[in-house]
Symmetry: C2
Subunit: 226 residues, 2 copies
Amino acid sequence: MKDLLSVLKITVPDKIYIKDPETSDLGKRIIENSIILINEIGFESFTFKKLGTKIGSNESSIYRYFESKHKLLLYLSSWYWAWLEYQLVIETFSISDVNEKLDKAISIVTRTVEEDSTYSHINEVLLYKIIVNESSKSFLTKEVDKDNKEGYFEIYKRLITRIQEMISAVNPSFNFALSLASTIVEGSLHQHYLNEHFPSLTNCKNGETPTNFFQQLVFNSLHNGK
Amino acid sequence: MKDLLSVLKITVPDKIYIKDPETSDLGKRIIENSIILINEIGFESFTFKKLGTKIGSNESSIYRYFESKHKLLLYLSSWYWAWLEYQLVIETFSISDVNEKLDKAISIVTRTVEEDSTYSHINEVLLYKIIVNESSKSFLTKEVDKDNKEGYFEIYKRLITRIQEMISAVNPSFNFALSLASTIVEGSLHQHYLNEHFPSLTNCKNGETPTNFFQQLVFNSLHNGK
DNA sequence: GCAAATATAATAGTATTACTATCATAAATG
DNA sequence: CATTTATGATAGTAATACTATTATATTTGC
């Protein structure tokens, strides 16, 4: 799987950037170090000026890649969801049993990212932390409908749809497959967040994980009366 | 219930504000109109200067009530959760059957706020919209652990705990009561958000509500095998 | 190998933000 | 009616989130 990723390229909607950061050394340094810097100081305090200083480049050069830090966050989010979708597809592809397939899917989308692939300039462990802490800010804005029309959330939506299809395959008469899929994805990020900052609000600690929680929740729900 | 609310006062942690906005006319206008303005332009674009203009007062006067707009958001969030907790307690108090009690609790915390009480300067319908669209920003910050230590999320945590207790009363051996409680509360906000901005990611539309979804999810989960 | 195109860097400038500080005035209270 | 307290007006600051312009490298196409 990892080998495959080093050959394939994660693709994000190209309207998100002005110039594709994958096409240059500076672009890659922008992505690599923005992930590090956002983790360090948080998205609110993050600026292109600070990033420029960190990578020994100029603010104005970064603006040639992304028109705003919001677009950069959209880029990072899309990249993460594309990376996750890739894993979902590869790891569930050959599973024919629908229950087993969904079980695996839940484990993929709810697991903590703890290993950096080292095949690219992107540190997935740090990126995952940004997704947990900051990704809601990519859509909780007044411009969300405009951004959505521009297609900036396509990959995320496709991921949710894939999970919904797997849910419906297990129980075609379950009438909340989409809501359940979106709850698994956002809910697991939230449980990871709670584990870190509000441990009194989650059972996902001491060996219990969001994966256990959502697998139990989903299968009890789908294999039950109504 | 409404009558009771007009006598009781919703209390938020007093370290959130510099001066209690409930104690003056200006304070009430700050709260009333901040809710309106944040809805209009979003929390990112909202400033004390704009609010001052709107209420015919001065930026510097508003700073005498709240040290930052973040504190104001914490105030509004706490107020909402206190208001919701109040309803939860009142409306479930006299229900002795644990299943019925939990069922009612879920319906209270997941329902859309559609009616303004008109008993105060706070428009609950608009405030609810802020909670759906902006409340995550009250904790998704680098200062969350500090804010948490200061007690700014006490009411929210108490609400989750109350729901957790009701879940455990239905099924004491269920090992994810806290995670389920936090998933119901945040998850229902998210489903309301999706309904408005990403209808392709939720089944909560055309008569189906987050209430139906979570009631089904919870009871299937609690009345099942494991 | 050189001209032209392209990418990056440097600098400056702007309106706005998120405040703090100071002083003046109005309203409430004892 | 004197004094405290609340509010308003004005000014100032460092930083933000950009845009614009010009200069200098670097790459590429012929």
